[in-house]
């Protein structure tokens, strides 16, 4: 596996590399080189199976992170190929020509995050959210509680037992005055 990472590092400069465990490795590549690396892994290194394709919203950096999880049946190795794409114009190349089933993942990501994959079949069709009109709901600036209160009817009388609040109430009733607890900011 180290040889493979070295080899790929020779082909392109990896932006980050992390070894999670012996059979699970992650590395980050540039968006432009993604397709090339994926097809190399598929065609020459035996990573023939695309296990999943997932997106993460890093709103602070203004980026979406895409994870392409590949699996090698012979060596039983997992590789996660990560790439960061711009959050404002979220758009990246479709990989449905490498793995035909990727279109379904891409359709879901398009619905949930609003990332476009030009050329991917049926990518604009709704997947779970039929007739959705708002911002894609898995983006972190989407306020799901506010939307729920606006759209659905609340039944009055709902009380919360938030564990943090409950334990604070129970253990430190006079929390700020209690001399037994010293906080770092004092």
């Amino acid at each position: 596996m180290e040889q493979l990472i070295k080899k790929i590092n020779g082909m392109i400069r990896l932006r980050a590399y992390k070894k999670q465990r012996e059979s699970l490795h992650f590395f980050t590549v540039e968006e432009a080189q993604l397709e090339m690396i994926l097809s190399h892994l598929k065609n020459y290194e035996g990573f023939t199976h695309l296990a999943f394709l997932q997106a993460v919203d890093f709103i602070e950096d203004g980026k979406f992170q895409l994870t392409y999880m590949l699996y090698n049946y012979e060596t039983k190795m997992n590789i996660g190929v990560l790439t960061l794409i711009d959050r404002e114009e979220a758009e990246t190349a479709s990989i449905h020509k490498l793995w035909a089933h990727a279109w379904q993942y891409q359709r879901e990501i398009h619905e949930m995050y609003g990332i476009d994959f030009p050329g991917s079949p049926r990518v604009k069709e709704s997947f779970v959210l039929e007739g959705w009109e708002e911002m894609p709901p898995m983006r972190r600036d989407f306020d799901t509680k506010e939307y729920s209160e606006r759209t659905f009817y609340q039944r009055p009388g709902r009380s919360t037992n938030d564990p943090a609040e409950y334990m604070k109430e129970k253990l430190y009733r006079n929390y700020p005055q209690s001399p037994a607890i010293r906080r770092d900011d004092e």
């Binding site: 708002e134 799901t144 009817y153």
Partner: protein
């Protein structure tokens, strides 16, 4: 004049089916549903007694609560002891068990199935999610109160309620049927416009007729 006036009223009483394409509107009925009155108090009492002893349940698991229906059906809890049998189609069912949370995509199918069921029909709402949203109270995709979309006869609280709780719920439903309190079907007809308004507010792609399948 009088006839014309009557026709106008009749036209207003028809369902618009606005979401259907123009060419398909003639294929679907535009009749509004009508209430069913009891023929006679004593006869209805006998019928209700009979209905309560033969509940046919629509086996449509709408959420995670459907998991609890499997042990209820099979030998451990054996709901056939209580005269309850699962049916595969809404046309043959009289009880609709909503199994837990209902997402917007599911509530569309719930409304379709509920309207296809023949009367008398009853609804059991299972789990906290149908009462006030439960743990999905702030979700963008699950409804909070089921009784705004279809009439509910019995709620079973819990997350999840065990099969014993379900049996208790079914027994409560039977008591209510025998007492003649399960008028959900007529309630749906009386407040039809209100229910439709609520349903259409969340089901944005309403591409089906308004009623009558």
């Amino acid at each position: 004049m009088n006839k014309k006036h009557n026709d106008e009223i009749e036209n207003q009483m028809k369902l618009a089916n606005e979401s259907l394409p123009e060419r398909e509107r003639a294929l679907f009925a535009d009749e509004r549903p009508s209430t069913v009155e009891a023929f006679n108090k004593y006869y209805e009492g006998f019928l209700n007694w009979a209905r309560s002893r033969s509940l046919w349940m629509l086996a449509f698991g709408t959420g995670c609560g459907a998991t609890e229906l499997r042990p209820l059906m099979t030998s451990r809890y054996d709901m056939s002891r209580y005269g309850i049998a699962p049916r595969p189609t809404p046309r043959q069912a009289s009880v609709f068990v909503i199994g837990g949370y209902a997402s917007i995509k599911t509530i569309k199918r719930i409304v379709r199935s509920y309207e296809q069921m023949q009367g008398p029909k009853y609804v059991i709402a299972l789990g906290s999610c149908t009462i006030n949203g439960g743990m999905y109270f702030d979700s963008y995709n699950t409804i909070n109160r089921l009784d705004y979309y279809i009439p509910v006869d019995v709620y079973i609280a819990g997350c999840m309620p065990r099969p014993e709780a379900l049996i208790a719920g079914f027994n409560r439903l039977k008591e209510k049927i025998r007492a003649g309190e399960c008028e959900g079907m007529n309630l749906y007809v009386e407040k039809f416009d209100w229910y439709k308004e609520n349903q259409k507010q969340i089901i944005k792609d309403w591409n089906m007729p308004d009623y009558n399948w």
